[in-house]
Amino acid sequence: MTMRRLINLKRVEARRIYLTYGIVILAYIICQTMSSTKFLSSSMRGMLVPICAYMVMAVSLNLVVGISGELSLGHAGFMSVGAFSGVATAILLQKVLPFAPVRLAIAMIVAAIFAAFAGFLIGIPVLRLKGDYLAIVTLAFGEIIKSILNNFYMGVDSGGIHFSMLTDTTRLLKGGRLIIKGPMGISGIQKISTFPAGFILVMIALMIVFNLVNSRSGRAFMAIRDDRIAAESIGLDITKYKMMAFVTSAALAGAAGALFAMNYSTIVANKFDFNTSILILVFVVLGGQGNMLGGIIAAAVLTILPEKLRQFSDYRMLLYAIILIVMMLATNNAEIKNFLTRLNPFKRKEEVE
């Protein structure tokens, strides 16, 4: 009797997953045709790859924040590890692998591996902490990664690959190339990231996260999020599953970083700072924690929005801040929320518990 009023989770969830894949594919087809028929302005076309990268970041962070319920304030750090390792790989492979798409794919895989390793190292201390303490430590790690990359030098010459910290002491032989130049980052990058590659990465990220969520690991992530003590009491290995979610998320962020970086000719570590981490967090929160489609849409809208607000020039970031605050108030204040639900009869039906 009352059961009919209860939400059938399985059906709602399956519908949401197919809807997400469907919308992403549709959006890709539309953008691709618009871009090839020159309907898209060149500034919009230039944003397609970054949008894809941010979408992957949103999916990746959602795995930590939405699915596992841990706050991370340093996700841009993984993106930058991926960006630097990916671009360096692509540069090293330039001669050996002239075919750009394969080079891009390998660069993204290497980026994912490096970022996953960083995630693992950071996870060891971080995952022992809880709540706000975990958040501040992820913030700290984000800043540490930025500091280190800002002081990191890597070059290649006939003698192999050379590294140094703080100052350039790589002493490259003649004909060698300094790839990572401390605060100058990497320049002279071949722009091999493409919109189709970005689309494929988004689809892969979605597949990984959706399939993981609907497996024993995903159930464990969510069980730990919902009630840590109960999860321990049924024998779930908290550390193992938190680490799994964190490392997977870091790997996806790394791949996204590589995709992002190879859309520009220069990349510096300061691009991936605290504000970028927050931006990604905003995608997740505005899209709804655990809601992949929401996060993806938020990533797209919030990447395009500042561009579209360009006509307001100076007021642009101010408007952005106001929109952010108003959105948070509108979605989280009970009175305002009730008011909005009353306006929307369709939504009201779905939210009955």
Binding site: L71, L139, E143, I144, M317, M328
Partner: protein, 293 residues
């Protein structure tokens, strides 16, 4: 002697962090939120002080008082408009709102005062005390900063432990529901906490810019994050913890700059934070709570 010089600069920088960290920790203790906009209140305070002194030629201490008044008001308004409606909301939503507020303050400052750096006039001149026949030189700003921090520490501790309002604040941070039942006006107490924290931020802004005179709309960000780190370091929610954390962070930062590398000093500071939290997961003076099952 060089070592002692570094140590004193460390304590001085740490005093500024401590004053800022107080705002974070008091607000966290009572509202359980990370107020990321706190760093930008410092910047607003510094601008008000700057204009009062440089444009209107007021006495520096009148300038600081004006800045405190402005920031106190700002703190109360921000809390009422942005945070109060979210008392029941998930903490992540509050965090994002605070970050939105931080962007808002920075960009408003950008529109009002432009991005051109202003050279902040020291509120106490650029002189210094010479000790040990000139071997040790302590600038007036350094001395004033350390003294101010000590005074604030004593006054605030007395306020919290002895006065009725201070006790109300402690009661609210223990249990808001119970405090309400005991007749404490919870909303007013939270406003008071924001007011005190923001007033202190104005002092910190004036001291910070007296020591490091470049004033820009983003001036508050990094000290804000560092002070936040200091608050966590000492145990967020704990007032003595904020002092201890602030001072230690300042000293570590100056030593890291001097003896390790100035580019990596931030990394060292954050690294120490991580190590401390691993050994003491709730900070140096934070209390560990056992969840009732």
């Amino acid at each position: 002697m060089i070592f002692l010089n570094f140590f004193i600069s460390g304590i001085s920088l740490g005093s500024i962090y401590a004053i800022i960290a107080l705002g974070y920790t008091m607000v966290y203790g009572i509202a359980k939120m990370l107020n990321f906009a706190h760093g930008d209140v410092i910047m607003v305070g510094a601008y008000v002080c700057f204009y009062a002194i440089s444009r209107y030629g007021l006495n520096p201490f009148v300038g600081v008082a004006l800045a405190m008044a402005a920031c106190t008001l700002l703190g109360i308004i921000v809390e009422r408009l942005a945070y109060k409606p979210l008392r029941q909301a998930p903490s992540l939503a509050v965090l994002i709102t605070a970050i939105g507020m931080s962007y808002f303050l920075q960009n408003t400052a950008l529109l009002l005062w432009s991005s051109n750096p202003k050279v902040f006039p020291s509120i106490i001149g650029r002189g210094s005390f010479k000790l040990f026949e000139g071997a040790l030189s302590v600038s007036h700003v350094t001395a004033l900063t350390i003294a101010t921090c000590l005074i604030i520490m004593v006054v605030l501790s007395l306020f919290i432990s002895k006065t009725k309002l201070g006790k109300a604040m402690r009661a609210c941070s223990e249990d808001k529901g119970a405090a309400q039942l005991m007749g404490i006006n919870v909303n007013a107490t939270i406003s008071l906490t924001f007011a005190i924290g923001s007033g202190l931020a104005a002092i910190a802004g004036a001291l910070l810019c007296s020591a490091y005179p470049t004033l820009m709309p983003t001036t508050g960000s990094l000290p804000g994050i560092k002070a936040f780190t200091a608050a966590v370091f000492g145990g967020i929610g704990s007032i003595p913890g904020a002092f201890l954390g602030g001072i230690m962070l300042g000293v570590i930062e100056i030593f890291a700059k001097a003896y390790i590398s100035s580019q990596l000093s931030d990394a060292v500071v954050f690294g120490v934070l991580i190590v401390v939290l691993l050994v003491k997961p709730s900070g140096l003076l934070g209390k560990q709570t056992q969840e009732k099952v």
